[in-house]
Structure formats: C-alpha cells, structure tokens
C-alpha cells in the first residue's frame, strides 16, 4: 500500500538496528528506555496541547479571544504556564502528612503513565499488546482514586477532605457504568485485547455496525468517562464555587502541575479508549463500496486517524464542560444508580442478544 512512512516502520527500523548492534538483553533495556522517554515526552506534549486547546475552546465558546500574547495567536501560552509552575514554590502545609502529601501527585502521574501502555496508537504500533488490555485499563484506572483520596486526606484541609470523599464516591460509582459499556464491545468482539478490538472493526466501526445499543453504550461511556476524569459537569471533587479547589486546594507549583497534567492525560486516555472501542481506533473511515473514497482514506496515516478521533472526543468533553452547570452530589449518584446503571444493564442484555443472534453486520 502506498502508505507514507509510518510509526510501526520507524519502530521496526530502530528495533532491527539495535538488535544488530547489541545483545538481546541490552536491546530490551534500551528499547524500554526509549519507550519511557517517549511516554514522558508524549505527556509533556499532551499537557501543552490540551491546555491550550481547552483555553481556546472555552474562549471561543465564551465569545472571547483567549490567550493571544505568547507566540502566534497565543499558541505557546501553555509553555509559559509550565515555566511559571516550575519556578513556583511547592508549599507543603504545616499540618499535612508530608509523605502522603508528596506521594499523591506522583501516584496520579504514574497511573496515567501505566494507562498509556496498552493503547494502540497506530497500525502495529503499541507499547504492550497485552491480551487483557481492556481489563488492565479498567483495573489500573481505579487506582487513580487512591491518589485523590490520599491528596485530600494528607492535605489536612477540610475542603480537600470533602472533595476527596466526593471524588471517591463518584469514581467508584461511575466505574460501573463505564465498565458495563466497555463490556458491550467486549461481548461483540469476543476479545479483551485492544489490538483485536481494533481489528474487529476493519469492516466498520462498532458505532456504525452495532446499531442503537452500541450508540447507547457509547453515550454512557462518554458520560462515565467525563465523570471518572472529574471534569465538569461532574467536577465535584474540585467544585470551585463550593470547595475552592477541592482535593488540590493545598497544592502549588509542580505538585499542582502534576495533578493538572494527570487530569489532562487521563482525559486523553479515556478518549483514546473510547476511540479504540467505538470509533475503530486507527482504522480509517470506509464506506461500503466507494473504492476511490476508501483509498483516499487509506492514504491518511493510521496515527492521524487515531489522534483525530481521540481529539474529537476530547473536544466533546470540553464542550460539555463549557456548557453545563455542575451537578450536586446526590444528583450525581442518582444519575449513576437510577439512570446510567439500569440503562447500561438493559443495554448489555440487548447487546448480548445481538451478539448471539449475529444481528450486527
């Protein structure tokens, strides 16, 4: 195929070269280092891009211009912010549990890093093709709440504690419906591996060939993902007008920046998972028998497809944030237990029936 130079080819070239130069053990170690550096680099880039994107989206929705001083049209604003956060003093409050207080942001960022591993960024380009990828992601993402609880508890601040408790209740509940909507796809695919899930969508994305039940699962997944990443309208853990800044009230400087970064990276990860499960991952968009059209689509590199879908979902979540008011804690739990959970359970039944009867294309 007339593909442009792709990520998988680059990685293959590097791999071959390393194998030719070093023995297998060293190759592995060097590859791991490269992967680690890449992930950290991706983190930094994601943080910068998503922050500027959020600020621009909010500005345009709010009929403002947004940041426009640093760089062309303010595109380097988030770099300036990063520098500011780096040179700020990282305070630790007097009454805080110092160890936990400093550990919490690290856990947040490490969890985000772990979640990166099984995501398929492009054709044949995946750090770790684990065969239980979906399960791994659901399991590891639950650890996120620990860092929030830790931050809230260790800060020795009442606002933080309230925010952390809210977030605990919220994440634990919303994990259920997020999991159930993910299971809908797992049932249809019959596999827990991200790679296979993407390959199962070669003849059409699940959102198209799964009829209405998958559409419902997709909507529920987006809602639950918004809630799990603590973003408005579910940002009760930080609820600015009630709890000043919720669980990170006491954090400043780089420690705050780590929480901030983790939030955005988590948004990216849930959107990447959403794109993989429902929108075909790196699969290009094909329409049945339009050969010419399909070939044009194939020509676009798979990494672009993946990023495009992911950023579309990220935009959706940002759009939510700048449109809706925040829910109250009891309404939040009502929404989950009275609406999302029953609907997704019923939906799961439909999907299972559909899978057994083979109704999808």
């Amino acid at each position: 195929m007339g593909q442009m130079i792709s990520l998988s080819e680059i990685s293959k070239i590097i791999d071959n070269w390393l194998r030719a130069t070093f023995n297998p053990t060293w190759t592995l170690i060097i590859e791991m280092v490269i992967a680690g550096v890449c992930v950290i680099g991706l983190f930094a880039v994601l943080g910068l891009v998503l922050v500027i994107m959020e600020r621009k989206v909010s500005a345009w929705i709010q009929i403002r211009l947004g940041p426009n001083r640093v760089g062309p049209k303010g595109m380097f604003q988030s770099m300036a912010d990063t520098v500011k956060l780096l040179v700020k003093e990282g305070l630790t409050p007097d009454g805080a549990d110092k160890f936990l207080f400093n550990l919490a942001p690290l856990i947040a960022i490490v969890v985000a890093m772990l979640l990166m591993a099984p995501i398929a960024f492009a054709r044949d380009f995946q750090m770790w093709d684990i065969n239980i990828g979906v399960l791994y992601v659901s399991a590891v993402s639950s650890v996120m709440v620990i860092s929030i609880l830790m931050a809230g508890w260790a800060s020795n601040n009442k606002y933080s504690l309230l925010g952390a408790m809210r977030s605990g209740a919220q994440i634990v509940s919303y994990e259920l419906s997020a999991g159930l909507s993910i299971i809908a796809i797992v049932i249809l695919t019959g596999s827990l591996s991200f790679n296979e899930i993407v390959h199962s969508q070669v003849d059409g994305w699940w959102i198209f060939k799964g009829h209405i039940p998958v559409l419902i699962a997709f909507v529920i997944f987006i809602i639950a993902a918004t809630a799990e990443t603590n973003r408005a309208p579910f940002d009760l853990a930080e609820a600015e007008s009630e709890l000043t800044a919720g669980f990170h009230t006491e954090y400043s400087g780089m420690k705050f920046a780590l929480f901030f970064l983790a939030e955005y990276v988590n948004v990216f990860i849930v959107c990447a998972i959403g794109a993989t499960l429902f929108l075909g991952g790196w699969m290009p968009f094909h329409i049945g028998s339009w050969q010419g059209f399909n070939q044009v689509m194939d020509y676009i590199p798979s990494s672009i497809w993946f990023m495009g879908k992911t950023f579309f979902l990220i935009f959706l979540i940002m759009w939510f944030r700048w449109t809706f008011p925040r829910l109250r804690i009891d309404q939040l739990l009502n929404l989950e237990w009275k609406y999302l959970l029953p609907i997704s359970m019923f939906n799961l039944l439909l999907v299972t029936a559909m899978a057994i009867l083979g109704w999808h294309f």
């Binding site: 989206v57 345009w60 929705i61 709010q62 009929i63 403002r64 211009l65 426009n68 759009w319 939510f320 700048w322 449109t323 809706f324 609406y339 609907i343």
Partner: protein
C-alpha cells in the same frame, strides 16, 4: 398502589413509571443538546467575539467625552486659565481632594488682586464624582478622559493643575 386494583392496574402503574422514566431521559438529553447547540454556535462563529484588545487598541479606543478620568485645568495658547481662586471646588469636594492656594497679584493700577498660586489636586483621593466641576462658577476645571493613572510612587499622584507661570484669562471674574 391500593389492594383492590386488578393486575393490569398494577402493571399500568409500572408502565406509567417506565414511560415517565423514558420521558425524563429524553427531555434531559434534549435540553443538553439545545444548550450544546448554542455554545457550538458561538464556538464556530468567531465574528461574535467581543474582546477588545486593550492595550493594543490604544490608538483606536474611543472614550466618550463625558468620561470622568481626572480633573484638569485647560489652558489656552497664551498659558492662561479661567480659575479665579474662589475655592468653590474645594468646598464642594467631599474628599478634600482639591486645595486652592491663593496669592495676591498687584494689578497695573497698583491694586491687590486675589489669584491662585497653586491648585493642588490629589488624584489618589479623587472619586471622580464631578461635584467640583459642577460647582466651579467660571468653568475653570473639567474632566479629562485619561485613565491610565498607575504610577510607582504615590507622590506623583499629587498634581498642580495650573501650569507654571500661567495667568488668569482676561475678562474672567
């Protein structure tokens, strides 16, 4: 539900609940989409943006002529003002912002005449209430449209409104 109801009644109750449930879900989703359509409209229509890019627009910025920025005393090209030193403005000011320091000039006829030495104006005390301007009987002071008043030293905010060497205009009593 009451006991006497036949089975279909109970079923009907559950059915009504289900209908209401579905209705709630749909009306919620609809209201969300309506809101998102509005914000989406603004996201895509950049001509609605109303940000004024101050201070880049200093040249084109237009302040109405009545804007109360600071009290000034206009002088004509002969360095003459209209202030007679009557202290009406000092009395009218609620904050003690204005201090009129008078002196006595000797007129050509050899008579003594009251005139201002200095009209001291404390910008940091002024609340731009316009009372002094209204009180002045000879229209000697007016409001200027400046507003960028910040300085590094507070003493710079104490101003003398009459120019050095200025005289009172002929014919102003």
């Amino acid at each position: 539900m009451s006991k006497g109801l036949p089975l279909w009644g109970r079923f009907g109750g559950g059915f009504m609940f289900l209908i209401n449930y579905i209705k709630t879900v749909f009306s919620t989703v609809k209201s969300m989409l309506v809101g998102m359509r509005r914000t989406g409209y603004y996201f895509t229509h950049h001509k609605e943006i109303i940000t004024e890019e101050y201070p880049d627009n200093r040249e084109t910025m237009h302040l109405p002529e009545r804007f109360k920025g600071e009290v000034v005393m206009p002088h004509d090209e002969k360095n003459e003002h209209r202030c007679t030193g009557c202290t009406a403005c000092e009395l009218a000011c609620p904050n003690g912002t204005i201090k009129v320091v008078t002196k006595f000039d000797i007129t050509p006829e050899g008579k003594k005449k009251k005139a201002i030495d200095k009209l001291v104006y404390h910008l940091e005390l002024c609340t731009m209430c316009n009372l002094c301007i209204v009180a002045c009987p000879s229209d000697a002071i007016k409001m200027a449209q400046t507003f960028e008043h910040s300085v590094f030293d507070r003493s710079q905010l104490t101003k003398v409104l009459n120019n050095p060497g200025s005289k009172i205009m002929d014919g102003v009593e």
